[in-house]
Amino acid sequence: MEKAEKKEYSPAVIGWFLCVVGFVGALFVGWVIFPALLYSSMEQPFPFNHKAHTENAGMGCDECHVFKQDGFFTGIPKLARCMDCHESLQGKSEAEKKFQAYGQKLMEEGKEIPWLVYSKQPDCVYFSHAAHVKMGQQKCETCHGPIGTSEQPRVYKKNRITGYSIDIWGRRISGIKFNTWDRMKMDDCGECHDKNKTSNACFVCHK
C-alpha cells in the first residue's frame, strides 16, 4: 500500500509540492507567526475613553492636548490636568470612579500615568506640533487617525527589537498604508513634505 502510494507521485511532483509547502509555510511563518513573535501586545494602564470626552462632554482636542506660548506641545496631558476636572466626579460612570481612585493614588505617589505612546519616535527625530498644526494647518487625524472618537484604546503592540509601537512601521504588518495615519516612518514625513513643498533637508527633522 505504502509502496503503491509512493509510486503515485513522481519526484518532480513531490518536489514541486514541497516547494509549494515551503512557500506557503514561509508565508504562514512570515505573516502569522513572525508578527506574533515580534510584537508583544500591551494594554494601556487605563482604558481611556476619548469619545466620552469629545462627544459626550463636548471637549475639543486642544483642551487637554495644549500648546504653550513658546510652541511647546504638551502631548499626552499630565495627570494633574486630568485631576483638575476629575478631582470631583463629573458623571456617574463606574469608569470615572475607578479613574478617580487610580489618579488620586498616583498623585499621592507623585507619579504620572505610564501611558504607552503609539507615535513615540526615536531620539534622533525632531518634530514640532506647532509647525504642523499652527503653521501647516494639519489636522490631528492626518497623523494620529480618528483617535478622538475611540471608546477605548487600541492594543499597544511593542516591537521587541526596537521597543517602538507597530504604528511607526505601519498599523498593518505589511506596512502598506491606505490612510495617511497608517504609518509614521521617515518616508511618510518626507512624502507629505514633498507634497506640501516644504523643506526635506535632513536637519529639519533630525536632531
Binding site: G71, S128, A131, K134, M135, C202, F203, H206, K207
Partner: protein, 259 residues
C-alpha cells in the same frame, strides 16, 4: 560648482579684542549640547569640544610678549564644504535654509573621512560611548540627542535653537524670525558680548554690518571654503595667524580674492 543659494545665511562674528578667553562659550556649548566629559580631557585630539578656544602667542620676547585666543566653532563653510563633499553616507549636508552644515548622527557610519577633510578641526569622532557620572544625566537637555560611540559630531550653530525659534514663530503664524530671536548658546553666554550671531544676508542686522567691516577676516580664507564665521581684531599679529601667510604677504586684502 553651484551651491543652493539660500535666502538666509546664518553666521557669526567674533570680536577677538573683546574676547578674554574665559571659556564661558565652551562650557555653555557643552551644557547646551549634552557633551560628556572624560576623566582626562588633556589629550586635545580626543577631547570633544564643539566650541574650542585656541591660545595664540605673538611670538615676541619679554616685555612685548602677549597672548590671545581664537574661539573656534564650526565654520559652516558655504562653498565646497569640505566635510559634506567627502561624506559617503550623506550624513552631513548643507541643504537647509540658513546654510547650517547638518550632522545626522544616526546616519553617520563613522568612517571619519569628514574629520580628515575639515581644515578647521571642528569635527570630533566619538571613540567612546557617552558616560555621564551618576546624577548628571539629569542635566541632559531634551533638545539635543546624546551621541553614541562610533559617530562624528560637531557644532551645529545650536540648530535646535533655530527650531525652537521657528516653533515659537509658528505659534504666532510668522515665517520669519526676528533679529536675535535665534542665537547660539555661545553667543548668549559670552560675558564680553564678543560674539554676534544672525543672518549675514540681512544688511540691517548687526552681524552683517560687523562682517562687512574692513578688519573682518576669516580663518584660512584662501581655501575658498567661504566660512560663515568672521573674526575682528585691530591687532595685525592676530590677523596674520588666521592663515599661513608668507612674511611679506598682504594679509589685509585676501578677502577680495574670488574663487
Amino acid at each position: 560648482m553651484n551651491e543652493t543659494q539660500f535666502r538666509l545665511k546664518y553666521g557669526m562674528v567674533i570680536d577677538l579684542d573683546k574676547c578674554v578667553g574665559c571659556g564661558a562659550c565652551m562650557v555653555a556649548c557643552q551644557s547646551e549640547n549634552n557633551l560628556y566629559v572624560r576623566l582626562d580631557e588633556s589629550d586635545k585630539l580626543r577631547s570633544t569640544t564643539w566650541m574650542r578656544l585656541y591660545r595664540i602667542n605673538n611670538g615676541e620676547k619679554f616685555p612685548e610678549a602677549k597672548f590671545s585666543f581664537f574661539p573656534r566653532p564650526c565654520m559652516q563653510c558655504g562653498h565646497h564644504t569640505p566635510c559634506v563633499s567627502v561624506c559617503p553616507a550623506t550624513a552631513t549636508t548643507v541643504d537647509e535654509e540658513g546654510g547650517i552644515v547638518s550632522q545626522i548622527y544616526t546616519r553617520c557610519i563613522g568612517c571619519r573621512y569628514c574629520v580628515a577633510a575639515c581644515p578647521y578641526h571642528v569635527r570630533y569622532f566619538n571613540w567612546w560611548d557617552p558616560v555621564f557620572p551618576e546624577g548628571m544625566e539629569k542635566s541632559l537637555s531634551p533638545d539635543v540627542s546624546p551621541r553614541m560611540r562610533g559617530v562624528v559630531e560637531k557644532c551645529t550653530f545650536c540648530h535646535h535653537r533655530l527650531m525652537k525659534a521657528k516653533q515659537k514663530a509658528a505659534m504666532e503664524k510668522r515665517r520669519d524670525l526676528k533679529e536675535n530671536e535665534y542665537i547660539t548658546a555661545c553667543t548668549q553666554a559670552c560675558p564680553t558680548g564678543a560674539i554676534t550671531f544672525g543672518d549675514l544676508n540681512n544688511p540691517e542686522h548687526q552681524v552683517a554690518k560687523l562682517a562687512a567691516r574692513p578688519d573682518a577676516f576669516r580663518l584660512l580664507e584662501r581655501l575658498g571654503t567661504e566660512p560663515k564665521v568672521y573674526y575682528l581684531t585691530k591687532h595685525d599679529w592676530i590677523r596674520k595667524l588666521a592663515d599661513n601667510y608668507l612674511p611679506e604677504e598682504d594679509f589685509r586684502n585676501v578677502k577680495k580674492q574670488k574663487h
